[in-house]
Symmetry: C2
Subunit: 345 residues, 2 copies
DNA sequence: CATGGTTTTGACAACGATGTCGGATTCGCG
DNA sequence: CGCGAATCCGACATCGTTGTCAAAACCATG
C-alpha cells in the first residue's frame, strides 16, 4: 500500500514537485499544457495530498471547529450537518468539540484544539456563544470565529443569527389573530439569550395588541421534553388556564401537548400550543405542532462560508460577517381559533 | 501570539528537543529528575505539540473516522457522543464522515479521508457496515476498522454489537407473557441487518410458544416516524387487528402510538406497543414506550478502545476485537396485559 | 580500576508538502 | 532584431515533530 507523494507525480510528469503543488492548488502561472499533463498523472496515480504535510508547511489546517454545549441534541445534529456539508464542499474538515462550561478545566480542551490542531476557524453554537471567557480564548489566539445566535455581536467576531424577536412576535400575533387572549409563555433556560429575545418578542406583540401578560402564565423551563411535561401540569391543573401556550422550543411544546392529552384537554379545540425550532419533535405527535422554522443548517453553513472566505480572514472586523437568516412560521394542527372564550374573563 | 515549539522548551530546560519529545510521549529512559524539569517547563510555557508535525513525522494521525449513513438521526448523535468522549480520554480526535451509498462518487470522500487524513482507524455504523464495497476500501488501505452491529463479522474487521436476536426474543416473550397472541411485527428497511435479526428473534419466540405468525401483520417500514404513522393506519384500520405491535425501532413505534391515539384506541388497554432502541422518541409520548435499551454510546466507545489499543493494531485479526454488549428490556406504559381476547380468534 | 553492559542523551535525517526567490523562457513592441 | 517585462518553472529551505543510531554517562562486577 505505498502512498503516492507529490514527488512521484512530479517524476512521472517530468516536472518539479513545486509545479505539481501549483497545479493542485489551482495557482496561476502554469502553462495549460503542463497543467493538464500533471492533472492526468494525478488522476492516474490517484494522488491525494497529505493533509498534515500541507498544513505544516502552509500554516493553514483546513480544519474548522464546532464548539457546542450539548452535542446530543437535535439542534446540534442539524447544525453539525449543515456545517459538515458545507465544509465538504469547501474541502475543509470539521472537528466537533463538546464544551461543558460547568465542568472545571473546560478551557484546556479548547486551548488544545486551538494550539494543537491550529484550527483555521471556529463556529460557536448557543448558548456558549455568550460566554465571554470562551470567546476570549479565540480572540487571544487570533482564531477567526463565528457566533451562532449570540446575545451581543462583538466587532471582531462573526455572527449568524435569525430574528428571534420578530419570529416570536409573529407567532404571538398569529395566536392573537386566532382570538387568544390568555396566552401562556414558557421560557427557556436563563443562560440562553435567544430564549430571552423570544420572550421580548412575545411581550412586544402582547403590548401592541394591548393585552396584559398574565405573569402567572409565564414559566421557566429548560428546553427539555420533561420540563414541558412538568410545566404542563402546572399550567393545566386548574380551571383557570390559558387558551394558548407558546413555548420557547418544540421539545417543551411537545411535553405540554402530551400533558394536555393526558388530561383530556382537546388540542387545538380547547387549547392551542405553539413551539419554536421546527425540530423533529414538532412532527412527532398528533396534532403536529405549529412552530417557527429556524434555519439551523443554513446558519451553520453560512458560518462556514464566513470563516473560509479569505476576505474575512484578511480583515477582521469585517462588515459582511454579521448575517441574519430568514425564518418562517409553520402552521400545523396544534393551534386553532379560540373557542368560547366568554366563560373566561 | 508566538507559538511555542518543542525547541523553546528544550532550550529553556537545557536538554535536546528529542528528550522533550520523549517526556511528552511518556517514553522510558529519561531520568526522573530531567523528566520533571521538562514537565515543569512545559507547564510554564503552556506548550502544546503541533498535531500536524507530530503526525507527519510519526505516521500516526491520532484521528479516528466515524462513517455514518444519516448523521442527523438520534442514533447517530448517541454513537457520535460515545465515540467523542472516549476519543477525548485517549487524546484522539474524531472526524465524522457522512456516507450516502446511493449517491455515486461516495467512494471518493472515503478514499480522501483515508489517504489525505491518514486515519488511524475507522468506526463504521449501521447500515453501511454491511456494504462490502465500503469495507474493502479500508481493507485495501490497511486501515483498522470496527463495524457496529454488522450482519457478518469479517476476520480482519473488528466488530461491536448487541444481541438483536436475543433482545427481540425477550421482547416477544414478554408480550406473549402478557397474554398476547395476535402480535404484529414492523420490520425495518431491508438493508438493515439488525432489523432482520430482530425479526428472526421475534419469529423464534413465536415458534417456541407455538403461535403462528400472521403474515398480514408483518409489515415493512423504513425506521421513520412517518412510516410508523402509515403502517399504523394499515394495521389498525379494520376490526381484525393485532392486540400488540412490536416495531423494530422507537420512531416507528411512536408513529404507531400516535395513530392509535388518533383512532381512539386505548394504549395499553386495547393495544400494546413495543419499540426498540430506547431513543428519545420512546419517552416523547404518553404512555411512554416499552423498548429495548441498546448500548449505543457504549458500543461506540468500545469501538474506539479497540482501534486505539496497540495490540489490535499490531495483530489483525485479533481475538478480542469482537465484542457483544448487554442490552436491557425497558418496560414502560405502552404495553399491558391482553384484554378480553375472546372476541378475536 | 578496568571491563562490559545497561541506561540515558543528542545529532541528524526524515516526514510531505509549500514559501521564497532567482533563473529560464516567452512575449510585446519599437 | 533587440531588449525590457511578463510569465513560467525549479532549487532550496522550511514547517515542528519523531525515528534511527551512535555517543556519553552510568552501573555493577571481578
Amino acid at each position: 500500500m505505498k502512498t503516492v507523494t507529490i514527488k512521484d507525480v512530479a517524476a512521472r510528469a517530468g516536472v518539479s514537485p513545486k509545479t505539481v503543488s501549483r497545479v493542485i492548488n489551482g495557482e496561476d502561472h502554469v502553462r495549460a499544457e503542463i497543467r493538464e499533463a500533471v492533472q492526468r498523472v494525478v488522476a492516474e496515480l490517484d494522488y491525494r495530498p497529505n493533509a498534515f504535510a500541507r498544513s505544516l508547511s502552509s500554516s493553514r489546517s483546513y480544519l474548522l471547529g464546532l464548539f457546542i454545549d450539548d452535542p446530543v441534541s437535535g439542534y446540534a445534529a442539524d447544525v453539525q450537518h449543515g456545517a459538515l456539508i458545507r465544509c465538504r464542499e469547501r474541502s475543509y474538515h470539521l472537528v466537533v468539540e463538546p464544551v461543558d462550561l460547568s465542568r472545571p478545566g473546560w478551557q484546556d480542551h479548547v486551548r488544545d484544539s486551538i494550539a494543537s490542531l491550529r484550527l483555521d476557524g471556529a463556529i460557536i453554537a448557543p448558548p456558549i456563544c455568550d460566554a465571554p471567557e470562551l470567546i476570549d480564548l479565540f480572540r487571544q489566539s487570533a482564531v477567526p470565529h463565528v457566533l451562532m445566535a449570540p446575545s451581543v455581536e462583538p466587532e471582531d467576531s462573526g455572527a449568524v443569527r435569525m430574528d428571534d424577536h420578530g419570529a416570536a412576535r409573529e407567532m404571538t400575533d398569529y395566536l392573537i389573530c386566532l382570538g387568544h387572549r390568555h396566552i401562556a409563555f414558557v421560557q427557556g433556560p436563563e443562560n440562553h439569550s435567544a430564549s430571552i429575545r423570544r420572550e421580548e418578542g412575545f411581550r412586544a406583540a402582547m403590548a401592541t395588541a394591548a393585552i396584559a401578560v398574565d405573569e402567572r402564565f409565564v414559566l421557566r423551563g429548560d428546553f427539555s421534553f420533561r420540563s414541558g411535561l412538568e410545566l404542563g401540569e402546572a399550567l393545566l391543573r386548574g380551571p383557570d388556564r390559558p387558551s394558548a401556550i407558546f413555548a420557547c422550543n418544540d421539545d417543551m411544546a411537545l411535553g405540554l401537548l402530551i400533558t394536555a392529552i393526558k388530561r383530556d384537554i382537546q388540542v387545538p379545540d380547547d387549547l392551542s400550543i405553539a413551539g419554536f425550532d421546527d425540530a423533529a419533535s414538532s412532527r412527532a405527535a398528533w396534532p403536529q405542532i405549529t412552530t417557527i422554522r429556524q434555519p439551523k443548517a443554513e446558519m451553520a453553513a453560512a458560518a462556514v462560508d464566513i470563516l473560509v472566505d479569505p476576505s474575512f480572514r484578511r480583515t477582521i472586523p469585517h462588515p459582511d460577517a454579521h448575517l441574519m437568516l430568514p425564518h418562517a412560521l409553520v402552521v400545523r394542527g396544534s393551534t386553532g381559533r379560540c373557542g368560547t372564550d366568554a366563560d373566561r374573563v
